[in-house]
């Protein structure tokens, strides 16, 4: 079809470029027949110019003002014809008032990045020192959106069936021991897919992959002399672009294709992808920070400002994105839709999500429109939405995050209660019982169910699993903040020696405690999340806040895998066990009664005596029985599973509940036993001689399967 709008209507002042009025939507830069459509919003700018650069060049080759007739409402939009868009970088000059008390900080001398940039140059290769004289540090680019997904589709695995594996894209394979061809990249993860499959995880949660600046606040560590960087990347430059420095092909500008290829390959192997998204602040910091984009485009729209025009700091990072301003709300929605539709992402984990529920003055809202919009959005309709249900401004909403039946939460109470129980802290039984059931105390209201709970013991924030059983206190000196950063509430126990130990008894106990932890995690209702590397006892030498450590502290050391095969094997079989038993994966909470006529309630509690738990503060023993006939609300049949947890330092006998006729107890796991008797292949459990009592070793977990005797 011939289109009239293939023909320009205007010519740029220098006579070189043909133009016409653009389309205001979609925002950003879009390839259209014959040219590129540029569209950008600013409510308070008085004028706007498009600035065009050749890739990597410091001087623009052209500056084209938006003519008056190219502004529609508060949107500047124009088509520029005949651009070599593969070699193009573009930005904007915006003119307008500089009046901080009124919230305006326009500076017409700054080149500003498009908030909707789909690819961003300037940090193409991770860690390569930028040219600080460049007037345009983070450079918007145009990318192809025609990736061939073939028949790929987000997997839509029920959330209760997931085993999530949280990883940092760079940290996962950057260590030389990873053995991949392109360490520290999307391509590196792709090479490790066979490993992920062997482990059995069904979802990877990637720490932030939106473009950020690893050089933000970079400095030399006073203790180690190493460069400290913004390694984690919880500080967005742009929301629509994948981090170029995470792609081996970033130097060729092909990060979009590399990232999509990774997602496509993960899907092919049955592994979902959840992105950790950071909508609570940007990399522009406070009033002393740089002009990257938002501040110079419409400061008052994008940021929460105090009455004096300073930046509210609910994020702990200098500024707070104005999430419930309608413009910003739409940007966030556009962004998530883009990642869901164009990248086939399966879900999102929202960093400091409570900020998304604050109004434009910073006060928490009852029914935050942004969270409601996301919960009901048609394009996000099958995406997992997971909140980190707190913020740095003191809002803590675990159990009360506005959910509309759609939102799950990182369950911080799960982490704390399990750790307390694991270390044998008195009075921890009641909390632990709730956590094992998918936290009905937190999530039974409004029928949220066990699927609202993302259960985890460790995450990027805090100790690794090995460090949790090896350090009583944090050791963050290398971060250069006198060990004052990072959490002090770790509920960790070093098993008798602080840090690395040569004492076999200490190391043996640590191994057992790690097995205990993962065993309890994987028999809990809700969705388990594992921190990458925990399965090989990865250490950060006690650093519980490695956000700035782009080095061996935070890179996974794959040589640990050979040394800790025993632990890897235990993880792998526990994951397989969870997959094999639907009774461990209820979406709803237990009813605490026998509605299947099996003679057992769906869950029953036991102790040293069957049917009898000592709930007193000094008790450290707990057992429970899941009736197989009640699996998934009685809709599927499964074996019954009995789990005995003895967190006391002495061995105790646990009387076993008597099974129905023909059924017998088989042992699947016993963390007190040495390999290969610590854990069995699911389905190949070994029948136990004494069907009446099991001696559970000191600080040990035993898992039994009740099934028909052969």
């Amino acid at each position: 079809m011939l289109r009239v709008d293939l023909h320009p209507t205007h010519v740029s002042e220098d006579g070189k470029y043909h133009l016409r009025v653009g389309k205001p939507l979609p925002f950003g830069a879009s390839i259209v027949p014959g040219g590129v459509n540029f569209s950008i919003y600013s409510r308070y700018a008085t004028s706007c110019k498009l600035v065009l650069f050749n890739k990597h060049e410091q001087k623009p080759f052209c500056v084209i003002p938006f003519k008056d007739e190219f502004r529609i409402g508060n949107v500047f939009t124009m088509v520029v014809f005949d651009l070599d868009y593969e070699n193009l970088e573009y930005g904007f000059y915006m003119d307008g008032p500089f009046d901080p008390r009124q919230g305006h900080r326009f500076d017409k001398t700054k080149v500003l990045m498009d908030p909707y940039a789909k690819a961003i140059g300037g940090r193409d290769v991770w860690g390569k020192t930028p040219d600080w004289n460049d007037i345009y540090q983070h450079r918007a680019r145009i990318c192809f959106d025609d990736f061939d997904w073939e028949s790929d589709h987000p997997l839509e695995t029920p959330i209760e069936d997931l085993v999530i594996y949280e990883m940092h894209v760079r940290g996962f394979t950057r260590h030389p021991s990873s053995g991949v061809k392109h360490p520290g990249t999307f391509a590196g993860i792709k090479e490790k897919i066979p490993y992920l499959k062997e482990l059995g995880v069904s979802c990877v949660e990637l720490m932030p992959i939106h473009e950020f600046d690893e050089f933000e606040n970079s400095r030399v560590s006073p203790t180690t002399g190493k460069m400290l960087m913004n390694y984690w990347g919880y500080s967005n430059v742009g929301f629509f672009a994948p981090k170029a420095g995470f792609a081996a092909t970033g130097k060729f500008g092909m990060q979009v294709d590399e990232c999509k290829t990774l997602i496509k390959e993960l899907h092919k192997n049955g592994i979902e992808v959840i992105l950790d998204v950071v909508f609570n602040h940007t990399a522009e910091g406070n009033e002393k920070g740089p002009y990257i984009s938002y501040r110079g485009i419409d400061n008052k729209t994008y940021y929460l400002l105090t009455p004096d025009g300073y930046y509210f700091n609910f994020s702990g990072c200098g500024n707070t994105l104005n999430c419930n301003n309608p413009i910003v709300r739409n940007m966030i929605l556009d962004c998530l839709r883009y990642w869901a539709a164009d990248y086939h992402v399966d879900g999102f984990r929202f960093d400091l999500a409570s900020i998304l529920g604050r109004d434009q003055n910073g006060a928490p809202m009852h029914s935050p429109p942004l969270l409601e919009t996301l919960a009901f959005d048609p394009i996000l309709g099958k995406c997992k939405l997971i909140a980190e249900a707190w913020d740095a401004g003191g809002l803590y909403q675990v159990g009360s995050f506005p959910a509309w039946g759609r939102w799950a939460e990182w369950n911080g109470k799960y982490r704390d209660d399990l750790r307390k129980f694991l270390k044998g802290e008195p009075g921890s039984l009641g909390g632990m019982a709730q956590r094992l059931q998918g936290s009905p105390d937190l999530y039974s209201w409004e029928g949220r169910g066990a699927t609202a709970s993302i259960n985890f013991i460790t995450a990027h924030d805090g100790f690794t699993l090995y460090d949790m059983v090896s350090y009583n206190g944090k050791h963050n000196e290398a971060n250069g903040e006198n060990n004052s950063d990072g959490s002090n509430d770790n509920y960790s126990w070093n098993c008798g020696w602080e840090g690395e130990s040569t004492d076999p008894a200490v190391n043996k106990l640590r191994m057992k405690q790690m097995k205990n932890a993962v065993a309890m995690l994987l028999v809990s209702q809700g969705t388990p999340m594992i921190l990458a590397g925990d399965e090989m006892a990865n250490t950060q030498w006690g650093n519980n806040n490695a956000y700035c450590q782009d080095n061996e502290i935070s890179w996974i050391d794959w040589s640990q895998l050979d040394k800790n095969r025993e632990l890897f094997n235990f993880f792998k079989k526990m994951i397989a066990f969870r997959k094999a038993h639907p009774v461990l994966r209820s979406s709803g909470h237990f009813k605490n009664r026998d509605y299947m006529g099996s003679g057992f309630a769906d869950i029953t509690w036991h102790g040293q005596k069957a049917w009898n738990v000592d709930w007193s503060a000094e008790s450290r023993m707990l057992a429970f029985l899941l009736c197989g006939m009640h699996a998934k609300g009685g809709t599927v049949d499964d074996n019954s599973i009995y789990v005995a947890m003895n967190m006391h330092w002495e061995m105790h006998g646990f009387e076993l509940p008597k099974l129905n006729h023909h059924m017998q107890w088989y042992v699947f796991a016993n963390t007190d036993a040495q390999p290969p008797f610590d854990i069995w292949e699911p389905g190949k459990e070994v029948r136990i001689e004494n069907q009446n009592e099991f001696l559970v070793g000191p600080r040990s977990v035993v898992i039994l399967v009740g099934k028909e005797s052969k």
Binding site: D84, Y85, E86, N87, C143, F144, D146, F147, D148, K181, H182, F186, A187, K190, A247, A248, T249, F252, G253, M254, D257, E258, K260, T261, K264
Partner: protein
């Protein structure tokens, strides 16, 4: 960019030399696409003289391959250097092509009926 077209054992071979990127992709497209008439069943694209293929270049190759596939034909590559191969692997383009060390191997494979 130098683009040479020849026939080898009845198979059309297009040899590209230079960089296939935003600057040259239109020229290459203008030369390659007319070769894909409805009765064309096979094409060998030789990249031996090609040091770099950009995102736009890879898209041209894929478009040509899809065009041939849709008419029951096949497009194969030959002489792809390791770096380009590696980039194609990481960006997913390698899934769509068979690649051979040189033109004669590619032609032989195509003649055998689809590599």
């Amino acid at each position: 960019m130098d683009i040479q077209t020849s026939k080898q054992d009845g198979v059309t071979v297009v040899a590209l030399s230079g960089n296939l990127d935003g600057n040259t992709v239109n020229e290459a497209q203008e030369k390659i696409m007319p070769l894909l008439s409805a009765d064309t069943k096979s094409l060998v694209l030789d990249l031996k003289g090609c040091g770099y293929v950009s995102s736009a270049g890879l898209r041209l190759l894929l478009m040509a391959a899809k065009q041939l596939n849709s008419q029951g034909g096949i497009l194969v590559l030959s002489g792809v250097c390791d770096e380009i191969k590696d980039v194609m692997e990481m960006t997913g383009f390698s899934n769509f092509f068979k690649s051979f060390p040189d033109i004669s191997a590619a032609v032989a494979a195509v003649r055998k009926g689809g590599a």
